[in-house]
């Protein structure tokens, strides 16, 4: 066998496992769900069909499109908050910590919460924001409140806080990497040319870290779009997100076609965001070497 053929065979061998896995457990289920989204519901099951009723319902029935809009609003808020918190943190780690060891240690400290169960981390906010929680006890103790308030928990505010906390590491990682890649000499060159700190940041550091911001924002937005744990734990009555609705359609509501249609719309939104961010990132990709 020729060397080129052997190489090709070897590559195919390596690829076949992951490819088969992705095919069986991702593309096939998506294809099935896509098919279901055109079926007609006949309680308690469904019948094969090809009609757009499920999709129409999503855009005509307020209870669905409002949840969709709310989910996008929450996802946007979480994304903005996460980037706003992650950027200064990553900036501090990269530019203000001189010792590489300390920098690595602090970076790990940021990422380490990802190894702790998601549920556990979401749950901690219940104990912080709840009526018997840390925040309430503190406010009562300093005399700002006469008695604990239930206002902190079970609303969209609590959801944004919880999700931001959970997804901040996903934002810090790409921003950290992007900032670390910027040669120090570029910042020195800017100052050398008579440009102060703030203007240097705005003209050099910020534009060159945009790919990191885009990647972090995309992670955060997409992950929030599909979240159903935070609404369940801290969301409350007006806190249902689209994933919660999907869950109920496949569960108690027993309306698989509608659930599938919802899932497809979610998938479309997330794919659009990813594609857009990828396009933008590609357009702005620069050789920093």
């Amino acid at each position: 066998m020729r060397l080129a053929d052997r190489r090709r065979l070897f590559a195919a061998g390596i690829l076949s496992g992951p490819l088969a896995w992705t095919l069986a457990f991702m593309f096939v289920p998506y294809a099935i769900m896509f098919t279901y989204s055109f079926y007609t519901r006949r309680f308690p099951t469904m019948v094969p069909d090809f009609q757009l009723g499920n999709y129409l319902a999503l855009f005509l029935d307020a209870q669905y499109y409002q949840v969709l809009l709310r989910t996008m609003k929450i996802a946007s808020l979480v994304t903005i908050a996460a980037v706003a918190l992650a950027y200064p943190l990553a900036y501090f780690l990269v530019f203000k910590i001189a010792s590489p060891r300390l920098r690595a240690a602090l970076y790990v400290a940021v990422v380490v919460p990802l190894w702790v169960s998601y549920l556990l981390r979401a749950y901690t906010w219940k104990t912080i924001l709840g009526s018997e929680g840390v925040l309430n006890s503190f406010l009562v103790w300093i005399g700002l409140l006469d008695e604990p308030t239930p206002l902190f928990l079970y609303n969209q505010f609590a959801m944004v806080i919880t999700l931001t906390y959970i997804f901040v590491p996903f934002c810090v990682m790409p921003i950290f990497t992007a900032l670390e890649k910027i040669p120090r000499s570029l910042i020195e060159a800017s100052k050398d040319l008579g440009v102060g700190r703030l203007r240097t940041f705005l003209a050099i550091t910020l534009p060159l870290s945009v790919p990191g911001i885009l990647a972090g924002a995309t992670f955060t937005f997409s992950l929030t779009m599909g979240d159903f744990v935070a609404p369940f734990l801290v969301g409350g009555a007006d806190g249902a997100l689209i994933a919660t609705v999907v869950q109920s359609q496949f569960g108690t509501a027993l309306n698989w076609p509608l659930g599938s249609a919802l899932s497809m719309v979610m998938l479309l939104i997330v794919l659009t965001i990813i594609t857009l961010s990828d396009r933008l990132e590609r357009a702005g990709r620069l050789d920093l070497a």
């Binding site: 020195e188 050398d192 040319l193 440009v195």
Partner: protein, 369 residues
């Protein structure tokens, strides 16, 4: 001529206790081209970064055009830097890179365009005005870096090994261009390099550094002909360095002995007493290689030896001669005719080296320093 920049007792220690710059004092005259020369780790780059304001000194002062700028951040110093890695902003065109400082300073757009064109013409890169840095070659990138650094007419232009990333041919032509640019602009240049040839070719004055201190400062010719220490003699050009003992010292001359070899040398202000250990340095091209027994002027030293091997350099041949010392003695013979290596003596040929006393530099022994 007045001094445009003065460094007074500058000291910089890095974390870990490395003293990069140690009580450094020197000044640069207006319009002067000064080169800081030394091996890596000698403190030359740190010195430049202190002047630019990228590092803060532990002690000492920097005075720029009569004003103390020691405490000023880089963006308030009237100096500009050409970086070794070019440091071009990758997200900006050549024109935007060059006009960057002016744009942020709020200069009118039309004025910027005109000035950018002027400096790009000066570095012969006007046709690349709208290119992105990634589309340029190394030499072109460094021209952009140069244009960007001179557009603000700094009082001093700092060049941090600007040519070290370029290949030999390009480096040599850029050396000439830099020198012309210096003459045209009339501003002071401070160049940092580890390339002694570059330093000799371009500078009005070379400051040789070692261990954060100045070893010697002088014109290229002074440094080459009258090195202050064996270190300089060896770092600039090539020298045969031989340890010897003074046997006679009188009237501006000394006689020194190194094993079987006995030479007369001009003492040049340094007059060691008899018995002192010294080091003698001779440039390979200052020794004359003749056949054994050829007559020579009575004043010259004659040293007999045997040819060990020879190396063809194109315009010259370097011949290693065994004269009974630890290291062979190197002699450069210019090739006047296109004879290849035909006239070069074979290994084993007995020869005589003829060396004028003025061509031998005498230094105190390194151990006694």
């Amino acid at each position: 001529m007045s001094h445009i920049i003065e460094l007074h007792n500058l000291t910089k220690t890095f974390p870990g206790g490395i003293r990069a710059v140690d009580d450094l004092t020197f000044a640069v005259r207006e319009g002067e081209f000064v080169t800081l020369l030394g091996p890596s780790g000698c403190g030359k780059t740190t010195t430049l970064r202190l002047v630019a304001g990228f590092e803060e000194p532990d002690r000492g002062r920097i005075v720029l055009a009569g004003r103390d700028v020691t405490e000023d951040p880089p963006y308030r110093r009237a100096v500009n830097t050409v970086f070794q890695d070019y440091a071009l902003f990758p997200h900006m065109t050549v024109a935007q890179n060059v006009g960057y400082g002016l744009r942020i300073a709020g200069v009118a757009r039309e004025d910027i365009r005109g000035k950018v064109q002027d400096v790009l013409r000066m570095v012969d890169l006007l046709d690349k005005i709208d290119a992105m840095p990634a589309q340029l070659s190394g030499g072109q990138k460094q021209r952009v870096g140069l244009a960007r650094a001179i557009i603000r007419r700094p009082k001093v232009l700092l060049l941090d090994e600007p040519l070290s990333a370029l290949d030999v041919k390009l480096r040599e032509s850029m050396q000439v261009e830099l020198k012309h640019l210096h003459q045209k602009l009339g501003i002071s240049f401070v160049l940092v390099t580890h390339d002694q040839k570059e330093a000799l070719v371009m500078s009005d004055r070379v400051i040789v550094m070692d261990g954060g201190r100045i070893v010697q400062s002088g014109t290229p010719a002074e440094l080459y002909d009258h090195p202050a220490t064996p270190y300089v003699a060896d770092f600039i050009g090539t020298s045969n360095i031989v340890a010897a003992r003074v046997v006679e010292s009188a009237a501006g001359f000394i006689v020194a002995e190194a094993g079987p070899v006995r030479v007369r040398a001009e003492a040049n202000g340094f007059a060691p007493a008899g018995g002192t250990r010294v080091q003698l340095a001779v440039r390979p091209e200052r020794a004359l290689l003749v056949a054994r027994g050829t007559p020579a002027p009575a004043s010259a030293n004659r040293i007999d030896g045997t040819v060990l091997e020879s190396f063809f350099h194109g315009n010259s041949v370097r011949i290693n001669v065994d004269i009974g010392q630890r290291a062979p003695f190197m002699v450069d013979v210019q090739l006047q005719l296109a004879m290849g290596q035909a006239g070069v003596p074979d290994a084993g040929t007995p020869v005589t080296l003829v060396i004028e006393p003025s061509c031998i530099s005498v230094f105190p022994d390194a151990g006694a320093r």
